[in-house]
């Protein structure tokens, strides 16, 4: 698989090298192009300084910090239950998933375990936020390549998922619903049937995207063989999630990590793609939405009855110690390293966010590509600026 990817990349580089020779003969003058901070391809305010030689990128240097909010410092002056309000806003398209690893890390330090019903509902909401997050990507990637229709379908169908999240948690984007030892509230009446209808909609949305986008010839020519990331390079940069699975690495923490959530009791599949190009990243995410729908469907049929909160003290003091918990979030691996000194507030919280590592590969992957491909590569890496700047 690796071999195939590298041959593709070599042929791509060879093509570009022949173009570069033409450029040298013509002696084009270098040019600096400023991409951003406001650009639809960046999901926030990321600025990329691209040095060009003709149509070709010589070097790309991302400039960040326009949205840095200092959550690691702020976490040090908030009590543990208050931190979830902050971390909601890291990856704002899949907010509930941000709370889960933090709560799990605190639970590990307190040696508390959520009751089964809470774990099942947690997993359902975790996967629903993945669907809400990635469905938007499936439309958004197309709009960045010039196809306007899919993004309207995406916004339309994501809204149904957000409605379901809202009817449980009370918040469309920032649920703040996960608690140490369980969840805040039980499911509302009639939610299970409504969610099943929504899942059917998402399934048909995926089929639409399969026809409209994946089957589209223009989309294929603009993404196939573009922005190839070999598996070993991706791993050494810390790429995770669908980005590394589309380079042929069969590694998913939902299957392999297995803390606190109940993915191991469900029947589903980890999708990989051998190519490692922009197309593979789109394709893997499309399959993952389908798998998430399958998972939520099974969860809805199997939620056990029982309490939703374990017994925890009202004023939460976390015993001294250190714990690191990571989960497979919509954008990739997200983890929290918590250092506790037995106080009401964490002593230090290190937030390992997925997009930060995913974007750190851009200087490597953008080197040598053409200007239009910059957009398709950035779109296919799929980052959210809140997840980079924290």
């Amino acid at each position: 698989m690796n071999l195939e990817a590298s041959t593709q990349q070599l042929s791509y580089i060879a093509n570009q090298a022949s173009d570069a020779r033409v450029n040298i003969e013509l002696e084009t003058e270098g040019m600096t192009l400023n991409l951003g901070p406001q650009h639809p391809a960046t999901h926030g305010t990321l600025r990329i300084i691209v040095r060009l030689d003709g149509e070709q990128v010589i070097s790309a240097e991302p400039v960040m910090g326009y949205m840095h909010r200092g959550y690691e410092k702020l976490s040090e002056v908030r009590t543990y239950p208050q931190v979830t309000t902050l971390v909601n806003r890291i990856d704002w398209l899949g907010s509930f998933a941000n709370e889960v690893p933090f709560i799990l890390a605190a639970e590990r330090l307190m040696e508390v375990e959520a009751p089964p019903r809470a774990q099942w509902i947690r997993t359902a909401l975790f996967e629903l936020s993945r669907i809400a997050n990635v469905v938007l990507f499936l439309g958004d990637m197309a709009v960045q390549l010039g196809a306007t229709t899919p993004v309207f379908y995406a916004f339309r169908d994501r809204e149904f998922v957000l409605n379901q999240i809202e009817s449980v948690t009370g918040g469309r984007f920032h649920p703040n619903f996960d608690r140490i030892g369980g969840i805040k509230d039980d499911l509302p009446k009639g939610w299970i049937q409504e969610t099943k209808d929504v899942l059917a909609r998402i399934h048909s949305f995926c089929d639409e995207m399969q026809d409209l986008v994946v089957g589209n010839e223009i989309f294929q020519t603009r993404t196939r063989g573009i922005g190839i990331i070999p598996a070993d390079v991706g791993l050494s940069y810390g790429l995770s999630g669908a980005n590394i699975r589309s380079s042929g690495v069969d590694w998913d923490l939902r299957r392999d990590g297995g803390v606190g959530l109940i993915h191991d009791q469900l029947d589903w599949k980890v999708w990989t793609h051998p190519d490692g190009d922009s197309f593979a990243r789109y394709w893997v995410r499309l399959q993952e939405v389908r798998e998430s729908c399958k998972m939520v469907d099974q969860i809805l049929d199997g939620i056990p009855s029982g309490p939703i909160m374990a017994k925890v003290p009202r004023i939460i003091k976390v015993p001294a110690g250190e714990a690191y918990v990571e989960t497979e979030n919509p954008l990739g691996i997200m983890g929290y390293y918590i250092v506790s000194k037995g106080d009401l507030v964490p002593y230090r919280v290190k937030i390992r966010s997925a997009s930060f590592n995913n974007v750190s590969i851009t200087p490597w992957v953008l080197k040598g590509v053409y200007v239009p491909d910059v957009i398709s590569i950035l779109a296919s890496l799929y980052f959210i600026l809140g997840d980079i700047d924290r």
Binding site: T79, P307, R314, Y337, D389
Partner: protein, 236 residues
């Protein structure tokens, strides 16, 4: 050097699944003992929570060497993160109660009060990193003690190129510099920014200007009544 299974008293086995006493983690113990062989005296301390996680602490000089050993001999090819911890407690006391202790400058915290976490420590700053082996799905945390107020340590970029941005972040947030780093400039902060925000002695000015309600507004957990508060010993 303590053996991997001995724990200090606050480092009790924190595995969350209910399981029998004395869980032995073969894979992680093998990993630690092979590291002991490769690193020798540079491995200062190690700690294993069976079935959950592993930590090692190495000397500052062997920081890059450790990365090489982990990458080449133990197939830890996934770079997870790199950060630092400032173990010297804040001289401003607990910021949560800023309204109360903002005036009392008598709370002077001296260095002897430093307490370290897992695998111990000896200096104010500790680097913290994590690498992972995706095929066996075992990760390990690395720590190293850094000398001085503005320490210097070798960069990890030759082994893990992904460390580039993490090291820039550590540089601006903690004032720790990395030798041989190709582009050690601020990542998030403006270039003229003064101070290192994640150091504990960097005050959070917004909290000083506007006190935080803090622990007063703890909301009731679901299914919890006021009369339950007596078993926590807290007044409602």
């Amino acid at each position: 050097m303590s053996s991997p299974d001995t724990t200090e008293e606050e480092l009790v086995d924190e595995s969350i699944e209910p399981q029998e006493e004395l869980v032995i983690d073969e894979e992680r113990n093998v990993l630690i003992s092979s590291l002991e062989k490769d690193l020798g005296d540079d491995l200062v301390d190690s700690h294993v929570v069976p079935g959950v996680d592993a930590w090692i602490r190495v000397t500052q000089e062997s920081w890059l060497e450790t990365a090489k050993v982990l990458f080449e001999k133990n197939e830890m090819i996934f770079f997870n993160f790199l950060s630092a911890i400032d173990w010297k407690p804040s001289p401003f006391g607990r910021e949560m109660d800023a309204a109360i202790d903002a005036d009392s400058s008598d709370e002077v915290v001296d260095e002897s009060e430093m307490e370290w976490g897992v695998t111990g420590g000896q200096n104010r700053f500790q680097l913290l990193a994590r690498v992972h082996n995706p095929s066996t799905n075992i990760g390990i945390h690395l720590k190293t003690d850094l000398e001085g107020e503005y320490p210097e340590v070798e960069t990890w970029i030759p082994v893990y190129p992904g460390a580039n941005w993490h090291e820039r972040e550590v540089m601006e947030m903690f004032g720790i510099s990395f030798t041989n780093h190709p582009n050690l400039v601020n990542l998030y902060l403006p270039s003229e920014f003064e101070g290192h925000p994640l150091r504990k002695d960097f005050p959070l000015l917004s909290r000083r200007a506007k006190p935080w309600p803090g622990i007063v507004d703890v909301e009731l957990m679901p299914g919890e009544d006021d009369d339950e508060s007596e078993d926590t010993g807290e007044e409602t």
